[in-house]
């Protein structure tokens, strides 16, 4: 049953060293505030799961807190490569990182299977693709009716999933609108789910009957963090900070500049700073 907690309380209570954790978000609603809290708490040896690890995972990896990454596209969307991710993979800085690499279709199906309580996902995929050679978690099953060979991947079952959503009601139900990504699946696939929200409203009266709502009893904790997905965005609240994503390419290009930036903007900052960031136009 969803408990309303402060963000630091929610993260410290639900995320432990060595956990398999998904901070999910598909461009929209990426839970930056929760990830920064995890960095501040120094949670380490994490297995990070995400379809589109972007700047947020570049930051966690650059801080040396991840031992493994399960992913399908590690880029700064529309900008280029992830330089801290590259430095870890190419030069083991600040530590080496193990990769379990998939396609988007595989990850989406694997989250779906996790939400559905299945041990694996079946799809028509990876034909001729070399990932199947380097990832032992890409296997196959045969259709018992047609004989067709299908791709199979294990279900994703994180220890904890963090997502950001527009709002909760006072009972603790959570509403997500717009680009939904795989957040519902990632939330339901996990043993525990922590949600940051822009605000809490009295009730969801008048919301569309088929809107994406996670009921209170499917959530572990909720933390109210206005602006909590900056520089990603929350439709209806604030837009995407594209300038931040463009600027990140330079910040992450240099180890020292990265480290200094993280100290100033993450280690010495707090969840309360996010609200401000959705109002300003430039970043360090």
């Amino acid at each position: 049953m969803a408990e309303f907690l402060s963000l630091s309380e929610a993260v410290s209570r639900h995320l432990r060293d060595g956990d398999t954790v998904a901070f999910e978000g598909f461009t929209h609603l990426i839970p930056y505030a929760a990830a920064h809290e995890a960095i501040r708490l120094g949670r380490k040896d994490l297995t990070l799961v995400r379809m589109t690890p972007d700047v947020i995972y570049d930051q966690i990896i650059g801080m040396g807190l991840a031992r493994k990454l399960i992913f399908s596209y590690a880029g700064n969307p529309g900008v280029g490569l992830l330089r801290r991710f590259r430095d870890a993979v190419e030069n083991a800085w600040p530590r080496s990182i193990e990769l379990e690499e998939h396609s988007h279709a595989a990850m989406a199906n694997a989250y779906e299977a996790g939400a559905a309580g299945l041990p694996f996902a079946v799809f028509r995929g990876y034909r001729g693709a070399e990932l199947a050679r380097v990832n032992k978690n890409i296997r196959s099953v045969m259709c018992p009716f047609t004989g067709e060979q299908m791709a199979a991947v294990p279900a994703i079952r994180p220890d904890v999933t963090f997502i950001h959503a527009q709002r909760a009601n006072e009972q603790g139900d959570v509403l997500i609108e717009g680009i939904l990504g795989v957040q519902k699946e990632a939330a339901l696939a996990a043993r525990q789910t922590v949600v940051t929200v822009e605000e809490v409203v009295h009730d969801f009266d008048g919301v569309h009957p088929n809107a994406c709502i996670l009921p209170r009893w499917a959530i572990s904790a909720i933390a109210v963090v206005p602006g909590g997905s900056h520089p990603s965005y929350a439709a209806g609240y604030y837009g995407r900070d594209n300038a931040y994503y463009l600027a990140w390419d330079d910040i992450a290009a240099d180890r020292r500049r990265f480290t200094a930036w993280m100290k100033q903007h993450v280690l010495e900052a707090s969840a309360a700073d996010f609200a401000e960031r959705t109002k300003i136009r430039e970043i360090g």
Binding site: T27, G75, L81, V89, H104, G128, I179, C212, Y245, R277
Partner: protein
């Protein structure tokens, strides 16, 4: 009006291949520019789908990412990512998958994973994203990229997305019934897959491009179609719509989080 740059010519030549009836699964970057240019010119009915779940979207500016809010606001509907990959892509509803490439071989196999060995890459690239299944589930694949000897190579370092393998009936032998890559649009030329060998052949060179130029910027031995034409030059309409779109988009991308 200044003449089209090679990059503009690439986008315009790619846009021309799209029809109003098409349902396109759109990659970010040059494919997105081409698809939206087609929508704003000769193919107003085209359905654009981004893997973030936005179906039938009509953005006023080009998205910086595949999940910009503009895509959702202008879409017919927005579905979850698992549904996108299951019902819409794997369900066989996409007529054109439009992909970019870091490395490409003459059989249309794409590498966006790594330069060098997978376990010890010289350069680690972002990875496949949606491409491995777009390349097999969409009815037909268009590829667009800038020509270079580093990008267009005889043998790619890693097959992220399968094109025509080593050519011939390689797709059929894998049980793939879709066409795979049929057309490559670069900043210098339009290339088509040969129906037998399944190798790219240069079909038309953009205005002012010589065969020498095309060959110098390509890492494989260039083959030509029986008749190599000149790509029709960009029209004033095409250029002005494209430039307007790009300008609006760049201005939007420089802005940060305004509500």
């Amino acid at each position: 009006m200044l003449p089209a740059t090679p990059s503009e010519m690439m986008t315009i030549a790619a846009a021309r291949l799209l029809k109003s009836e098409d349902v396109c699964f759109v990659g970010i970057g040059p494919p997105s520019a081409a698809c939206n240019l087609a929508r704003l010119t000769h193919a107003p009915g085209i359905t654009l789908i981004y893997e973030s779940g936005t179906i039938g979207t009509a953005p006023a500016v080009l998205p910086l990412s595949i999940g910009d809010g503009e895509l959702c606001r202008t879409a017919v509907t927005t579905v979850s990512v698992p549904e996108m990959f299951r019902y819409w892509l794997q369900g066989g509803r996409i007529s054109i998958g439009f992909l970019g490439a870091a490395q490409l071989d003459p059989f249309g196999n794409i590498n966006t994973t790594c330069i060098g060995d997978y376990a010890r890459p010289k350069t680690r690239l972002p990875g496949g994203g949606g491409a491995p299944e777009i390349s097999t589930s969409a009815a037909e694949i268009f590829i667009t990229m800038q020509q270079s000897r580093r990008g267009m190579v005889k043998a790619i370092d890693f097959i992220t997305s399968f094109g025509h393998g080593e050519g011939g009936d390689a797709r059929a032998r894998l049980g793939l019934h879709s066409k795979g890559p049929t057309t490559l649009i670069t900043d210098l030329a339009v290339w088509k897959i040969d129906p037998e060998t399944k190798e790219f052949h240069a079909h038309s060179l953009h205005p002012g491009v010589t065969k020498t130029k095309a060959e110098e910027t390509c890492g494989w031995d260039v083959k030509y179609a029986a008749f190599v034409g000149e790509t029709p030059p960009a029209t004033v309409l095409e250029l002005s719509v494209l430039r307007d779109l790009v300008q609006r988009s760049q201005a939007a991308h420089r802005r940060s989080a305004a509500a």
